[in-house]
Point group: C4
Chain length 240, copies 4
């Protein structure tokens, strides 16, 4: 995949996040690993997810230096660089502040599979980064986030937001979308009966569902739908 | 009703479901019994409810073989085939993952008539399929779902979604729409005061309401409204 | 006000209700007293609130006979006829099934002024009609609803919906809009801390607020805004 | 900044409030201090936040006399005059009735930082004005509100609404937007697990986050995004 294709994919992913509950003014970001190993393609700062086009995606070096692209760089680029540095199997990272996931993190509850969506992540429970709810503004903090994620595909940054780390932009964005849906459904059920009475899939079932509901093929179909559903003119990155 | 008319009706029903809280990316389906007994007309896989036109409705044999139409077949077609096989009085089946119904199923609470909508289903309570929250991927599992539905017009698939089985596409889609409304209203009330303090229609009243609020004529009027309210150009299947 | 003006006003009011949380497919109605005493102008059956134009408003006699207009008559016209018969000071009646008000009625909680809106109604608490949650399908039941309303401007029909009875179409529709807002805000607060900890305006304050927040002038301004905010081409019934 | 520029900025701010959860028919207002010290520029009465253009912003003297502009004056202009009189460091005031903030005030709970947003305000907790939930209809009541705000940048008017007082229109509007988001997230979390189990940023962390998440630069970027996101033709007050 060329740099141009990565930029187009990241910008499409940003607009999918915007259209699916991840908008928070100009905050939140999406990155992809550079196919040539030069560093990380990251949404620029100062614009909302819904505003991002290919020209708004920057290439940062592994030291956070701006190699290509224009505009300000997100202060929290450390999340992306450190997660991608630590995990060779990860090719894309979402960081955002979706309402239900932020609320669930503040409840202290484990994510539980009320429907399909949570099985993309759990078991085991989505790890929590709770050293600080402040911005991830240094490489050390970024590395700590990466450490909390460990081998998992997401973490909740308590009192802050979410990180989803996946093997492709498509999967990272898809994961962020279903994570927010999962958290909202769980909060809805728990608010009615309390956490102790919640009926959720046991671990073995959840693992089996992950394979089936979210096979590579299903995730790809879900992603393509998300792109087709974007407002505005025909979007990039979808094979019709 | 010809195959063409069935296809048109199923596609209209899919778009009604999309516009009324049943969209879940490319998942969820609607089917109708073939008027000539050849099998089941089912929404194709890989597209969202909102994207379905008449050409996206497939004819499957009673063995799940693709007899007409194009595109991939939903893995869970077994739900439709087995419910329609078991129930000669059923002509259409909805399966979807609406948020409030999924949450209500995870609370373990009985569906109770907070307003009119739940009386389309209860009493008795909507049966629960809880053998698995995983996909209904075999004819055996489909037959078990059909067994749980028994003579009823719906079931909640715990940690998964809903099935509505009715005597026509119009009624199945209408039922799915009011089921989700019923669940949301109940969760709203229960979250405020708890399940024990909920005021709901007693059974006798609910049964009387079902006859009156949801007479054949009222359901037909409701369906026609849903179709008129679809976004985009004038929809098929409504007599003005 | 001529019959034509009443029809236009009722149809405008129906569309305002639709745009403010009172849509329930083809159910729910709005009526106005005939200025010449012949009976009641009522939205016709079979259409949703959003679909009503002046030609969709019927004149019914005090016996429920169709005197002018076309289309089917709502079975529950008894609510309108009996409330207007019992209350010479009432000129318009809304009956609808808004989600939060239906949920609040099912909690058994008194309506309490969490913000401004509830003071349009309480104190004293909005009376509850709980003889049946079924349709108001006879003049006797309509008269009972009127009896429960008594001198008040609204009642909650438990497990059914709301009735708002006011001195004009503008006020009845405005009241229905703020009733639903009041119920939603109360449910939001009560779901967080429980009904016992809710902080609400004491009665004396609520009464003073009713005079001030909802003076004739303020209600008129609110109504005019609601009409200006209707989707589609310029609406009737507003002096610019 | 000229009077014309202030009018344009206030009108833009009103439309931002409308688009971000602060609409309440024709109620709620935004003001800015006159750069020449003559008094207060205030949104006129009788129109909703979404309807305000530059010509709908009035100049009031420090005695509440209409010096420029047309249309009725908001009865509650005392809030604006008295807060701006008491606080030379404040240049703009929002008063509105957003649903979640009104509900949170009615719970009696302290605002707690579930995510970033609340740190714009707390610690210390947003002060509560609870002498009355009625309108702020006299200069004495306005002065009392100003007294409750003290050195803070907001107050909750219990059973009424919110006041945000900031050093610019941009900051006041931005603050109002994040206050409502903060309250909604907190209610969502508290409804699930109760206030006692809520995980929120400790004070020191919240203060650090305020400096970082809501630096002058970040708030400016947030404001500019809000303006760019307004519906309709290109908005005033944003440097591209």
């Amino acid at each position: 995949m060329s740099g141009g294709a990565v930029r187009e994919l990241v910008s499409t992913g940003c607009r999918v996040l915007a259209a699916n509950g991840h908008s928070d003014l100009v905050w939140g970001h999406l990155s992809a690993r550079d196919p040539d190993g030069r560093g990380v393609w990251l949404k620029r700062a100062g614009l909302g997810f819904d505003e991002i086009g290919p020209d708004d995606v920057q290439l940062l070096s592994w030291d956070g230096e701006l190699l290509a692209g224009q505009g300000p760089v997100h202060l929290e680029h450390h999340i992306h660089i450190e997660v991608l540095r630590a995990r060779r199997d990860v090719a894309a990272v979402v960081h955002s502040h979706p309402e239900a996931a932020v609320a669930l993190a503040a409840t202290g509850l484990a994510l539980q599979p009320v429907g399909h969506e949570a099985t993309f992540f759990t078991p085991p429970d989505v790890p929590r980064f709770d050293r600080t709810g402040d911005l991830i503004r240094t490489s050390e903090l970024g590395a700590e986030v990466a450490g909390v994620i460990g081998p998992h595909n997401a973490a909740l940054l308590v009192n802050h937001g979410v990180v989803v780390a996946e093997s492709s932009v498509e999967r990272a964005v898809f994961g962020a979308v279903v994570l927010e849906k999962a958290c909202r459904a769980q909060l809805l059920a728990v608010s009615a009966v309390g956490a102790d009475r919640l009926i959720a899939s046991p671990d073995e079932e959840a693992l089996a569902k992950r394979e089936r509901c979210y096979s590579a093929r299903q995730v790809s179909l879900g992603w393509q739908y998300l792109v087709r559903s974007l407002p505005g003119p025909a979007a990039a990155g979808v094979t019709s």
